[in-house]
Symmetry: C3
Subunit: 346 residues, 3 copies
């Protein structure tokens, strides 16, 4: 729980780690990343698209990460890479104080059941609670105040930020990143009605997550009713997302903030759901589907492509008039049809 | 905090607990539930509707829960019940390792104020915090890391999963189930504006919840401004739901994930709100109303029935054309009317 | 962690604190606030608008807070103020047991790094965790189970309710109120795609919040990618709100429950976003904009005013017909245009 030191690297070291071609003084120390405008001599900036080229001349950056074809526009030191945005991603990870931090060991205030299986170099933060039968792979880090329920397993290199809840019987792959406030494996929403009241259907399935999954702050992934809820490999889930029981999400799919997916829906691989998108239950969304923000999907989608619903905001006075007409839309269409008939007859 | 043992029962025992008519070997041990397709000889499956009858012949299930009228289609052991889905609900509860688990006692790391009133067999998990004046009924279980604020009361048999927050002055009935990350009794959103800035209106009401209420992961129920926020009996609330101050929800109503209800709105009994539904403030929704997913309700509803708004997703290119037209809708309607007049005159 | 005592004041004392003109017995003890209908002789009620004047005659309130022009309608004791609703806000704060409570000191179960800088009268609750380099101003109160990450700073008078998470490198101004379950400074949602999979863009910016900010239960404010996410002064954020990386929110703006704001969008000063509103990324919303509930904003807004989208709920049968027509809207418009041409030609 020490204050994380700011990582620093020489340009030579960075070039080697990125596999980049360095032009400039390799002994310069770099202590961070910044935009072209803000970067100082101990920071690296990057040019991910052409529109920023105009800022190159005036940048004070210690080096600039860019595509070789933009090298001529860069008066100072540069790191040339075919995909500078990807290079920026790799570089950013080196400078993250939390990703880089290694505290080591189990904090004395943590409550860890006797039979928990701890891999090498596992860290468990203050006041965390780990129940019986849990297995934590090598280099797993569990943040302060986090909870891992009985029998759950976390793959090597996984990182739980503080105040994360992983319920019992959950299996998480390697290199997961779970952000504060998220809950993995709470009960799905299942009840039988007897004609007058509800009876709980206990949720006996678990949650199974592949490798390289990230889950944002305050998101919830519910456990399955009988079978598991399944999250594929390299699935990226933003904050405030709700994934209901028995949903299955394919590899490499990304869900933006506030997405809600109802029970038993299957989302394919390489999909992208925009912020606030809602999927009804029991749908199948094929691979390669993108849905724009706040759209409602009530039917399965069988063709890759971009899908949308809703209408954008407009001044309230204009909106009121149009929204009223929406309620008359079927009638308007029928009136139009009648008029067309009359016109053809006339 | 032991690893929960898998519960097991003989078929005779299950038949008696369900009040079902058993046909088959009553001494067989059953260790779980599964679908007809997946169930093995030590698991029970169920047929809740006719469409699954075709799977009966090939099922390896140790017994099948079904309606007596489907008995002939079942070659193996069976548990006959008039409402097999309800039977499944009851059966599932028997096999839930968390519902069945009894640890007993107050974990030494929990911080419990001296004057807390503990019923019989109360369990308090590791690192939980219980403030002064709290009353916990018999068999209440408080999960690890959960917090219960001063003067709050939990009825007998209530279960708080790990990392739940119940603020001060909250009253919860019997057999509540609160999932991880939910917050009961945070401040409602109230401010007075002085012409230039906001002044907080302290939220002096509480939250009062009836019996048999369930609240999902990461949901929030805000405390009232002066009076209480009131949740009736047998109300079921899914994950990521927001209930604002002074809302009142009638008995047996169910709210799916991501529902948001604004301040002072009253929802009747036996209502069902689909995922992502939003209700404006100060509305009255009568008993027996269903609202489909992601609908926006801005007016009170006085007749039972199903209500909807919004439009479903379509291919983006098609949607763009239609969404643009929505902004012209009032104008289109006026043009249609003019044309009709001209046609009648002509 | 004592049971908070109910605060009490004489009417004389309240009049002085509010700067109100008291008519009545100043020695009467007041122990709370209530509505005109419910208030008893030891409670104050208020009349914020004319529609409640009719309840004045029958009210048993110990005193009524009202505008001087309504004095004649009040038969009992009264506190006269030009803005009674503002007076109610100030009064309510006096009677909030949590705002008024002072426990003092650091609970022995809290885990506080050695170099944390604690102001005067700082309170740290049971099982809270404070990492290295944190600075807490005078009178800061940190609720039970809350976490404050390395190097973060909280201004004087800030109140963290139980189970709040403030990640590392976050700066929060004075008098903040953070409700349970909220997460400040979780990673923003940033990834680079290499053609087959995602690579994390570490989020190296922080969150900077001004003075007098309130954040509701289970809300999340993500840290910036390179620069900070910035929340202005006197910004009020309700429950279940998601604010993505590098968003900037101007002073005095209020966001109702379930609002979602995508990355890098700038919201002006004195704006109000209704419940469930969604803003796309990289927009600019000018000062003084109001957006009604559940609207989707996909374009920047440059004029103050009220904006809306969506359509309200209607009976499902009616809705189905209209929603189908929405998918034909562009076609209907084209048919109308053709008919108009024919009519003009004819």
């Amino acid at each position: 729980m020490t204050h994380p030191a700011t990582p620093q690297f020489t340009l030579d070291d960075l070039a080697e780690r990125l596999g980049a071609h360095l032009v400039g003084d390799g002994s310069r120390w770099i202590r961070g990343l910044a935009t072209l405008k803000d970067a100082g001599p101990d920071q690296v900036a990057f040019v991910a698209n052409r529109s920023y080229l105009k800022d190159l001349a005036s940048s004070r950056a210690g080096a600039v990460l860019l595509h070789p074809e933009h090298a001529a526009a860069c008066p100072g030191a540069r790191l040339e890479l075919p995909n500078p945005y990807l290079g920026y991603a790799h570089l950013s990870q080196l400078f993250d104080p939390i990703l880089a931090r290694r505290e080591g060991g189990v904090h004395p205030s943590a409550v860890v059941a006797e039979d928990v299986a701890l891999g090498a170099r596992v860290e468990i933060g203050a006041n965390a609670v780990i129940e019986a039968g849990v297995e934590l792979g090598d280099d797993v880090r569990v943040g302060a105040g986090s909870f891992i329920g009985a029998g759950s397993r976390l793959g090597a290199g996984s990182l739980l930020h503080p105040n994360v809840t992983v319920c019992h019987g959950v299996t998480i792959g390697e290199r997961a990143i779970l952000h504060s406030g998220c809950v993995i494996g709470g009960d799905g929403f299942g009840f039988a009605h007897d004609g007058s009241r509800w009876h709980k259907i206990a949720q006996l399935g678990g949650v199974v997550m592949g490798d390289d999954v990230e889950v944002g702050s305050c998101s919830s992934i519910d456990r399955g009713a009988l079978d598991d809820t399944v999250i594929g490999n390299d699935v990226k889930i933003d904050s405030q997302v709700q994934i209901a029981h028995n949903v299955r999400i394919g590899d490499h799919t990304a869900l933006a903030g506030c997405v809600g997916i109802a029970g038993s829906t299957r989302v394919g691989r390489n999909c992208m759901l925009g912020g606030g998108v809602g999927l009804s239950g029991h749908l199948t969304i094929c691979d390669g589907v993108q849905v724009t923000g706040m759209s409602l999907v009530t039917n399965s989608i069988h063709e890759p492509g971009v899908y949308s619903s809703g209408t954008g905001a407009m001044p309230n006075a204009q909106w009121r008039k149009n929204a009223v007409r929406f309620k008359q839309l079927d009638e308007l269409a029928r009136r139009l049809t009648r008029l067309e008939k009359r016109s053809q007859e006339g």
